[in-house]
Symmetry: C2
Subunit: 156 residues, 2 copies
């Protein structure tokens, strides 16, 4: 059975994100879902997503942390309102700030696991910490401050 991510419930017009939009055929189509008290997403980089030979490009790692951060924020928002993921109206967050620490080189050629911890849910803002694992070893960690999109977003 295909795993549904919170991104599968984003409204169509907000589902073209290069990192996690299910309707962006060129993108990564990341899917974030709950695994106990943590959120999880998985992604296998392409061979050309290299930094230096053998290792994953840091910009891709930042991108995955970014999207799993906004996805985790949406999951946390549903939970905070005791609502089922995908119930109406949907939540959609964008990133206000992103911090990434590269702890060690991330080997390419294996599936990466991103795990998210919800640090704070306050009004329209959700802060998460995201950890990147390759072969069970943590290679990067990030902090994402995500803000819920309001209808006036595009007028900002």
């Amino acid at each position: 059975m295909e795993i549904k991510g919170v991104q599968d419930f984003y409204p169509d017009d907000l589902s073209y994100c290069y990192g996690c939009g299910r309707l962006n055929e060129y993108g990564y189509q990341l899917k974030s879902y709950w695994d106990g008290e943590e959120t999880v997403a998985r992604f296998t980089p392409k061979p050309y997503h290299t930094a230096v030979p053998g290792f994953v490009y840091g910009g891709l790692i930042a991108s995955l942390i970014d999207c799993h951060g906004t996805g985790s924020a949406a999951l946390a928002a549903y939970k905070n309102e005791n609502r089922q993921v995908g119930s109406f109206p949907p939540f959609r967050f964008v990133t206000a700030s992103l911090q990434v620490d590269y702890l060690k080189p991330t080997p390419i050629g294996v599936e990466l696991e991103l795990r998210g911890k919800i640090l704070e849910v306050k009004g329209r803002k959700v802060i998460t910490e995201i950890y990147v694992f390759a072969n069970g070893v943590m290679t990067a960690k990030g902090k994402v401050v995500a803000v819920q999109i309001t209808s006036d977003f595009i007028k900002v």
Copy 2:
């Protein structure tokens, strides 16, 4: 005349970075060079590099800041040794940490300008601040801590 970036002088085996490697045909091939006391790079996102319709994907912005940060670090390292860019041996940096603040949505469909300021050059570490402009308006800024690759990097 084609502008040469510091990335054009990276050794061949370190020129496959998805963000700035001249030999990565799938990547962004970012080029960073001096413009007075600042460094500059330019990039026009593809139509599919969206976050929400009309705006650039934050992960791409993080990626560009990352690569212009390591490129600017290499430029600063040459300058710090009073050496011409491209003189032997070449400098190649990787990112230790990356901080990105998204100040406002970045419109898609225009060339982005990245400008870099060197904050610190100390031993193998260079810290830069990178600003992203669209239509002359700053939409994001970042801080990159870059560390020079040593020959034992791949054994880390």
